[in-house]
Point group: D2
Chain length 357, copies 4
């Protein structure tokens, strides 16, 4: 159940709810409700009438299984990564190489992507590779290179963590922990990052349903970490001409279901360099809170994922045009916007609105 | 093989090629190459050296299996539907109800969608329904209602044809023949519309690969009808929360492979009314030549597909914002655009630029 | 609604039901219920209390949307193809080449597959090919060759029909009409074979759900043709190492939902010759009523589908071993069988048995 | 590259190969080749002519990327779990509850499944659940209950391990470590069980290709653990009527590619209790080395997965009939078998082999 508390709820109310939950052995977790108050999620039903407690605004007993992640708990969230706000209205671009290749290279690419318009730097130190014989990443040396590039560029950084034991180590060096597509249902790892206080970029499993995706976010939030950003990165479909199929339907759909920000990764979501630019535009148009892109100065010689990696110039193009698309769609989802159209059309029937105009 | 003829090729050259093909029993079809000359596709290899014939610009013996539809045959195509040009740079909006419900209703919706910004009217008279007991469309009465609505609104019309025997009948009433997703691989139907001179809207089978899609276009073109418009309308994927998954990756990918215009249908591609607007924007941003949308004055009471149907007001919103997105992306794919970025960055950001060189 | 009539129902009852349905404009169709009586399906609800009519055994108002095909209408069906019974307890093998190649070749393969154990001969005269430039079948000459091979071998024959206009022609030459996977949702074709009196082999669309499959059978039955045999032939999945994925789950599942016989096609369902034998065995073990197999004396030189075609020797191996598997599983699904196990265990293993009780 | 050494190869040869590999920084791993000798896999190419070394039988430089798992390295493998041999010709049945529920319950079910014919006991102590609020398994208490049930029944046991840190703990209690479908690409976990000396049951990811499946096995083998058993457990497809689709095509296909045993899990592969029996038979007929089944005395009240769980009686039925199917197919894949058919048919053309016999 979800219990919403108003801003000035007395501590005794919160204590009473927590005590009641613990007594029954239910999991319980509270978080800011985005309106000055807070919301408490209890994995079970508390028997007494909580609405009588002072400060209790509402009690929901029927809700989505991902109760903390749902829009029933709060309407929107902004996740801060360093000083960059994800979900605050301006699309955020995370960019960098698939794998960190050296300290010098990481510093150079950091400056490149910053100049191109990215505000968060990516780079993999621990890499999930389908072959045990492929380059597995630079490991802790890579993390150090990433931290140096952060300092040199001033950009906050995101990097992948692959196992529970590594979470503390990786968290020392990064501003955001990435959970890769293949680990979306690695529940021990989700629980472990849920106990960290570093924001998490959760990539959708390439065969995960929307609900499974949100349940994985819930695992992290149930552990006490509310700072989760979702990332659509392509699903597996039937046409072997594409490595993955970017599923943009989930962007507006997740918007209806969750308060968490939603990003789009057109690099993995297409698996083909020449499609990345257009699909980045489509992601922004679908309403994404940002983009994650693989960028390398010389994609053909990147240590991994070169076929889907773009250059800093292409990134600049994407950043500039993405901002223009975002501007063109400001206010698109607002009710007033739709209402004003109705009025406009009713009043002005003669004026033919043409897309071609 | 593909033989390209220059504008002033003597008739003897064309005659020689056709004769050589017919003699060997090869299928042969020629079409305008978009640059004043023409291109002849021969389903086989002609034994003599055609390059020696006067006017022969080029001979390609290795090419895509969809030779007429490929960009190897010509670079772009514009398909005229009435006086509306598809593929000419301005996105076209086709809109109207799933099923034609009555003459009066079709006239009313025609005026509504025109006012909202659509330039082609849709409406189904023969409906493929998964149940034999569901409403199967108004049939020829529906075609007559569509023709009346065309006259009343001045909009050209598109409607579905489901079987070879109906092609002549439907072609009498419509400006464009639609081949539905379930008929994308109905080869006798494709062959039959290939022998008609009415433009064809070919919807992608919901489990068809990109290559199968283009081979179906090739069936139509091999019959002598070059006016084919492709339409992505969602593929079948694994998440039952969505009827279909709009696959926008194919929009930029088809652009690389074919000269045919590519449209997007976010109504079927999402199966959910609330997702249509954003996915229409994403379709335009992905580079589509237009949108096909199901529109009804009262979607909840539409005879079919109400759950994915929007109102005329929502259509107006989509047309207006779609035009803005299109404007924001004018010239996006052009090489000069990318080159200018590089220059811009070099001039603007100075010595610190370290490009891939 | 479904109205079941007992064997000796007076004609007045049937007439009253039909009249009531027609009066309300509902589609109506009756068929044998498999127990001496009949069942009438009405696509709507009749307002008066039909149970009061003499001979009415039962009235079902809530049932599956595929009412005639469902097990609610009757429990099992046997479909006769010539003198071969499908669904009568013994698996039936249909075999032959993908395409009919010549009269002599078709006669030779007919004798080969008969000797190997097949009891129905297949062969395509009209072929759906993904390229307009590929061999499209011998057409009517192929049908004549098939009829000659039938006479020479004594085997009844099955061949594909691709368009409504061809149904009468094809029906002249064949004992069973095949609807191919790509035409499973070609509703005009389904309606047309529904008006024929020739049994139909309906192959599952490679991206059709089980319910869509049954609704397509319903289209045929609603037209008046009760003799439908379903055939699972592989679905499209994500691994490009396989052309299709044979979905045997549907075999026992369809058994629960429909009285129609269910066959399995491991040639298309694997797309790879070396997998056909084992998957044929798996199909029989899953409970299929028979197998459809592509067989050619020289698969590497077959005009189509050679990669998934086996030799007559391999067919003989499959027939022999398939019979053994079928024998090993006789009675597998019967309740008594399960009950006897419980008894057997109780008697044999004594007091230590702790059943669920 | 793969270097095969004959039984009596001098130690100097092996030492030379290992030294050459290490010197170049290549990963290297050797294992028994199944014919008395051994095979060394080197993840790179060694520059000198190894064939000149004494005892080197063959050197393969071109081979599958899963070199140790491939049939190029050895032809078949038998994996011992306790005293039970998997891959030795007789199908092995692993059975038990999804979750261990108590020590008493686990002992009771152990005796039940043993009596029914199972030879390995399963039961989950650490459970991957899609909700953080669902029962997550009994943990170490569950492991202890499993060990007690092993002692009481004499059956070796298999249980899932979910994270690298738990491998040592779980290995203390179990005879076989299970890697679940969601962890098939959890590479740190694969590496960790690769360093253990306990056999591993590797379940296929529900959206993993056959090659990805084998690469995950390779991760384990490259760590030094050769005892890997593969298990097909259903893939994710498009029909929401089925939780998963059992993909039996991979059984004969994996047989062509790998020496590792292949099992089938019809409980997860159907997600529906009523389909388990038939699909178990199909799995055996497809050539699987065994079955994994969820069994509970009272499936409707199981703590997890009850909808796909069968009773001990149903298990007995499956074991008995599965053995009969296996017997019916003994020698099915052998070349001699096929050859003898050819002879038989040639000699005895008059004898019609009929499946119906």
């Amino acid at each position: 159940m979800l219990i919403t508390l108003s801003p000035n709820t007395p501590p005794t109310t919160r204590a009473a709810v927590l005590a009641a939950a613990l007594e029954r052995g239910f999991q319980v977790q509270s978080m800011d409700n985005g309106r000055g108050g807070s919301v408490i999620g209890v994995a079970g039903s508390l028997g007494h009438d909580l609405l009588e407690l002072p400060g209790v605004e509402s009690v929901q007993t029927v809700h989505k299984p991902y109760m903390l992640a749902s829009r029933e708990a709060r309407s929107t969230s902004v996740v801060m990564v360093g000083d960059v706000a994800i979900g605050a209205g301006t699309p955020v671009v995370m960019a960098g190489p698939c794998s960190i290749e050296s300290e010098a290279a990481q510093i150079a690419i950091a400056l490149d992507v910053k100049r191109a318009g990215a505000t968060i730097l990516r780079g993999g130190a621990f890499k999930p590779r389908s072959s045990p014989y492929s380059f597995q990443g630079m490991g802790e040396d890579g993390l150090r290179a990433l931290a140096t590039a952060r300092q040199a560029s001033g950009l906050p950084v995101v990097t992948e963590v692959m196992e529970p034991e590594q979470v503390d180590l990786v968290a020392e060096y990064t501003d955001m922990l990435q959970i890769g597509s293949r680990n979306m249902a690695n529940f021990p790892l989700l629980k472990r990052v849920g106990r960290s206080n570093v924001p998490v970029l959760l990539k959708r499993g390439f065969a995960a349903t929307q609900e499974e995706f949100l349940m994985s976010a819930e695992y992290i939030m149930a552990g006490g970490n509310p700072d989760v950003v979702l990332c659509e990165r392509g699903i597996r479909a039937f046409d072997s001409a594409f490595r993955f199929t970017l599923d943009l339907n989930v962007v507006p759909s997740l918007r209806e279901l969750t308060h968490l920000p939603v990003m789009v990764d057109p690099s993995h979501g297409t698996g083909r360099r020449s499609l990345v630019g257009r699909m980045a535009m489509a992601g922004i148009a679908a309403g994404a809170d940002g983009l994650m892109l693989e960028v390398h100065p010389d994609p053909d010689n990147a240590l991994s994922d070169g076929y889907q990696t773009i250059t800093p110039d292409e990134l600049a193009h994407i950043c500039r045009r993405g901002a223009a698309v975002h501007d063109a769609l400001r206010g698109f989802d607002e009710q007033d916007e739709l209402a004003s159209i109705a009025t406009f059309d009713t009043l002005d029937e003669g004026a033919e609105v043409a897309l071609s105009a």
